[in-house]
């Protein structure tokens, strides 16, 4: 039997070309297949399976971000390369001197201290987690850790952050579509997958979020992020002609074949489980230990991780400028029997590829051997600008690097945005809002995630400063995590996330704006410097070929530009995962997720000892609300209780927000702030309740004192509106004058004080609308996910 097949495409018609793509799970469309055909016509030969697979992996949506980089016709306006016109553009125009490497490598890199930089990346692993939650999520975190190991010349991971979106845990069994797993099973599998991988790697998982919404029942989202630290002189890589290609870490098997192309299409009941990779964290930890030693000795010129597309992508990227020769039969296999193309595209885990100068080969191999990590020479960077693959004596692929990387046709897509009009809920504000507050606290998205958080080691490496659980009994919900990566320095990083898909159901523009605001707010709330915040975008959407879906992405991207510019927060890296759809076999319809944008933020903190937490600290302190409350109930949790979305999505006033962040940061630096919490889901009501039960002290406030726009004239809206850029702050009375003076031009309101053991809230007419024991509120918040 021949080990390599040639495919007959030179004379194929359109139908046949599509058939070849479909049969081979190549996910290439007609225009792309035609480009391939034209290339081989020029070469006057048929392609091998290895060649077609290489092209398919490199051109996959997963690797190439074709929709974002294509030409989009948005409501009649032409956008040439959405990414360049929005996200990249903001970074370029902001031009921060502390941004070291943006959008070029595996992760974004910013300055940390005189000698070091920090890198941050968030990835998704959605499709695999839908089919095999434990393995999918584990390899998700494993993959993003390798991004950090493979950025520049390698960074040491110091922190993980995870954000998950699931269907409701009580989703009726009988409503599940054929081939999907129940949200509860996905939830538990994902949590343990991330736990077992992250804990074994010895990286603290300090921050995260979990969103529950029916829209994620068939397609859960699993975002995994990692922060790493690296010396200044290791931020860049450069392959030299003649460097030896060394593969380090795991062996290659059949797991994860077609991961990149598979994640670029909708799932259905017949999706192959073999597309999911199998992880082994200890192999990755060994690989990390070995590579950081080799890095510090300067033993290689470049490295990257094997992620989507396996060697095909890793070697393909590294060899873009030089070309490479790879001997596939030398690759160590988990078991025999893999075809050359399978070896080349397998996404087996825990593999890194190095470019090692020949004179340093024996020294690097000695390190790898001592650390018990398998290292294999698989080829060399050739200087031919061609990708040449061999299996034994047979040449199984010979492609021009230029064609692989630039030969794909660009996409032309249409985006069409239509304003949506939802039902505007019509009901009067209840006389007593205690019941509503308890119910909002019990909403799964709001409720305590302690069950998850405690299963993650959030303190390994010894640098944890602001923990995910805080307050009098270590169980209140923190805003951002703070850690110091160097144990002999007080410099640290704050990390947070912003996500709210319900706003996107109203308008993705304001969802993106709100998410950036939330991520920034969280950093500012713990004392992070708003002038030093870098952000990451992570788009998870449905099918970009549907004009209304693409319009959502366009609108979110436009907001990314506008708000990043307004806040001075550059994007340093990003990711998109599209085609999060599931085929309902009974109707043939495709069910898509709600368009979801995760914004992750990182800020360097000069001194972590300036940090504040969100728990009330003492009785008799003054409570302030910073920012204005608007009639912005659209997408709120309060409306969710009534099964409504509404229309008035929270907006962002960039100019005011920027001022608020700067002033609040100053107040925290001056030591005026005892506790601080941002208002997010559930608005002011939830913020006050959480601060109270975390601190073990009640609070007494009056809603009439809350600064609000003219159309907010009912108690429930003041309490539960989710307007952006708002914080609740606790101050000692002696600092009031200083604080008010600092905030002169900004709307702040002194709404009451701490004390007692109840949350007492007086309405606009000074009537008591909430009088709830803090322990009762806490129970409402803890109960739903205590033992899920």
């Amino acid at each position: 039997m021949k080990i390599v097949k040639t495919l007959k495409i030179l004379k194929a018609g359109e139908e046949q070309l599509l058939e070849i793509s479909r049969k081979g799970l190549l996910s290439l469309n007609l225009a792309e297949m035609k480009a391939v055909q034209a290339y081989f016509k020029k070469k006057k030969r048929e392609p091998t399976d290895v060649e077609l697979e290489t092209i398919a992996q490199t051109w996959s949506e997963h690797c190439k971000h074709k929709a974002f980089r294509g030409v989009i016709n948005y409501n009649g306006k032409k956008i040439d390369n959405l990414l360049k016109q929005t996200v990249f553009k903001a970074t370029k125009e902001l031009n921060k001197e502390w941004c070291v490497s943006v959008f070029t490598d595996n992760a974004g890199i910013i300055k940390f201290d005189e000698n070091n930089c920090v890198a941050f990346k968030v990835e998704t692993h959605n499709h695999p987690s839908a089919i095999e939650p434990y393995g999918g999520a584990g390899t998700g975190i494993g993959g993003v850790i390798r991004d950090i190991l493979g950025v520049g010349l390698g960074a040491k991971p110091i922190m993980n952050t995870d954000v998950f979106c699931f269907g409701p845990l009580d989703y009726p069994e009988e409503k599940l579509l054929e081939g999907t797993l129940h949200p509860r099973r996905i939830f538990k599998g994902v949590v343990s997958g991330v736990r077992d991988y992250g804990n074994r790697m010895g990286i603290p998982t300090c921050n995260g979020a979990v969103i529950f919404d029916e829209g994620y029942t068939c397609n859960p989202l699993v975002y995994c992020g990692t922060v790493g630290i690296m010396p200044n002189n290791t931020c860049f890589k450069k392959v030299k002609v003649g460097d030896i290609i060394v593969s380090l870490g795991g062996k290659t098997g059949r797991d994860g074949i077609h991961g990149a192309t598979f994640s670029s299409i909708a799932l259905d009941k017949d999706t192959e489980v073999s597309a999911v990779q199998i992880g082994n964290p200890i192999v990755e930890k060994k690989t990390q230990d070995a590579l950081l030693q080799a890095r510090d000795k300067g033993l290689y010129n470049a490295l990257t991780d094997c992620g989507a597309g396996g060697y095909s992508s890793a070697v393909g990227e590294m060899a873009e400028e030089t070309g490479a020769r790879v001997y596939l039969d030398r690759v160590p296999l988990k078991y025999p029997g893999l075809a050359p193309w399978e070896i080349w595209v397998s996404e087996a885990q825990e593999r890194m590829v190095f470019a090692v100068p020949i004179e340093k080969l024996s020294e690097i191999m000695k390190i790898f051997e001592r650390e018990n990590v398998e290292a294999t020479i698989i080829g060399e960077f050739s200087g031919t600008k061609r990708l040449e693959l061999f299996y034994g004596s047979e040449k199984v692929a010979d492609l021009d690097m230029k064609f692989i990387h630039e030969g794909g046709p660009r996409f032309e897509l249409t985006a069409e945005w239509k304003e949506k009009k939802n039902n505007e809920p019509n009901f009067v504000s209840p006389v007593n809002l205690g019941d509503s507050l308890n119910k909002i606290l019990s909403d799964l998205t709001v409720a305590s995630k302690e069950w998850i958080i405690r299963q993650y080691d959030h303190e390994v490496q010894g640098g944890s400063i602001i923990k995910p659980l805080q307050g009098a009994t270590n169980d209140g919900p923190g805003d951002a995590a703070v850690a110091r990566p160097i144990l002999t320095s007080w410099k640290g990083v704050a990390v947070s996330n912003g996500i709210n898909p319900r706003y996107g159901m109203l308008d993705p523009y304001w969802m993106a704006a709100s998410n950036i605001d939330e991520a920034v707010r969280n950093i500012v709330a713990v004392g992070g410097d708003p002038e030093k915040i870098a952000i990451l975008d992570n788009f998870c959407w449905g099918n970009p070929n549907k004009p209304e879906e693409l319009a959502g992405m366009v609108r979110a991207s436009l907001a990314c530009y506008d708000i990043a510019m307004a806040y001075g927060t550059p994007f340093i890296s990003g990711k998109d995962s599209l085609n999060n759809e599931y085929v309902d076999v009974s109707t043939g319809d495709k069910v898509a997720i709600p368009g979801t944008l995760l914004i992750s933020a990182i800020s360097v903190m000069e001194d972590v000892r300036d940090a504040v937490t969100m728990d009330f600290k003492a009785e008799g302190n003054s409570i302030y609300v910073i920012g204005t409350t608007h009639n912005e109930m659209g997408g709120s949790v309060y409306f969710k209780l009534k099964n409504e979305l509404g229309n008035t999505v929270p907006k962002v006033d960039g100019k005011t927000a920027k001022k608020i962040f700067a002033k609040l940061h100053k107040a925290i630096k001056l030591g005026l702030v005892k506790s601080c919490h941002d208002c997010s889901e559930g608005g002011l009501g939830v913020a006050l309740a959480e601060m109270a039960f975390a601190g073990g002290t009640g609070v007494d406030v009056c809603l009439d004192k809350v600064k609000r726009s003219g159309d907010v004239n009912r108690d429930d809206y003041v309490l539960f509106s989710e307007s952006n850029s708002r914080f609740v702050v606790e101050l000692e009375k002696k600092h009031q004058a200083k604080f008010e003076n600092l905030f002169k031009e900004i709307e702040i309101s002194n709404i009451g004080q701490t004390g007692g053991d109840k949350v007492m809230i007086y309405g606009l007419d000074n009537r008591l609308v909430i009088s709830e024991d803090i322990n009762v509120l806490k129970e409402s918040w803890q109960k739903p996910l205590r033992t899920p």
């Binding site: 736990r195 804990n199 074994r200 790697m201 010895g202 082994n280 964290p281 200890i282 930890k285 060994k286 230990d289 001592r370 650390e371 018990n372 958080i453 405690r454 299963q455 993650y456 080691d457 959030h458 303190e459 390994v460 490496q461 010894g462 640098g463 944890s464 400063i465 602001i466 923990k467 659980l469 805080q470 307050g471 009098a472 270590n474 144990l487 002999t488 972590v608 000892r609 940090a611 504040v612 937490t613 728990d615 600290k617 506790s675 601190g695």
Partner: protein
């Protein structure tokens, strides 16, 4: 100038609390080498050049077979002669979390027969059935253990493990530990009393969190003293009056001081 105490911190595949363990010893003025087990097995490094040996936390070899077992076997079958000499010369050994599991599986703890031929004690799956990270109050209960001499009666440290339930082979072993003052730490609640979950985070017998050998020079414990070396590690440092130094540091300092005295 007095000589510095020399500490060897052993690591292998899956070790992950090495950096903070090294730092804790360094903060106490020790000279610390982080050494891969392969360097010992190949005799590139000699344990006897050190006064203190530490096995940090993590998931050595992924905790395959059983937690700590493979590293324990490497020590037991290939290094035991040197280690025996190390111990008999009253040099110090500390095993934290996974390191404690290793010490128990090598027979260095409880060390009833010198180096035990059988496993008198073990660390089993938490009663909660899952890995948990939480802070625990610990009562210091031994006068014998060198690491905890002069330690305040109650300290606060985080645990982070899935297999930390301390159990003994039989009642006799437990009696032996008690009689010989080998129980070093017990989990207690804030008021200093033995209590159920979560004060005792894993269901350990008699709430035992750490033990030492009869000589008091080998300590194994599940909680992580290296994670509480400054007040800013404490989960409530933003709300409580606390001393600058974290509770965990005293254990490292005691060891370093003891070793230094022996050097003079």
């Amino acid at each position: 100038m007095s000589k510095k105490a020399k500490v060897i911190v052993i690591r292998t595949a899956g070790t992950n609390c090495d950096y903070e363990t090294v730092t804790a010893f360094e903060l106490c003025g020790a000279e610390v080498d982080l050494v891969h087990i392969n360097q010992l097995l190949r005799k590139e490094v000699d344990i006897l050049n050190y006064q203190i040996l530490a096995i940090p936390g993590g998931f050595s070899y992924g905790d395959d077979v059983a937690s700590g077992k493979i590293l324990a076997n490497e020590i037991q079958y290939r290094l035991i002669d040197t280690i025996s000499r190390f111990v008999s010369e009253r040099r110090l050994i500390i095993g934290i979390c996974n390191g404690f599991q290793v010490l128990v599986k090598t027979g260095l703890l409880p060390g009833i027969d010198g180096i035990d031929k059988k496993e008198y004690t073990t660390l089993f799956n938490n009663d909660s059935g899952k890995f948990e990270d939480r802070w625990c109050y610990l009562k210091s209960t031994s006068n014998r253990c060198i690491f905890t001499r002069g330690l305040k009666e109650q300290i606060y440290l985080p645990v982070a493990h899935g297999e930390g339930k301390f159990i003994t082979l039989d009642e006799k072993t437990l009696e032996y530990l008690k009689k010989n003052d080998m129980i070093v730490f017990k989990y207690v609640n804030k008021d200093g009393d033995i209590a159920g979950y979560p004060a005792n985070p894993n269901g350990s017998a008699e709430a035992i969190a750490g033990i030492c050998n009869p000589g008091g020079n080998i300590l194994g414990l599940m909680p992580h003293p290296e994670r509480f070396v400054t007040r800013y590690n404490h989960p409530r440092w933003t709300r409580e009056k606390l001393p600058e130094e974290g509770d965990g540091l005293a254990l490292f300092r005691n060891a370093v001081e003891f070793a230094k005295k022996k050097l003079q």
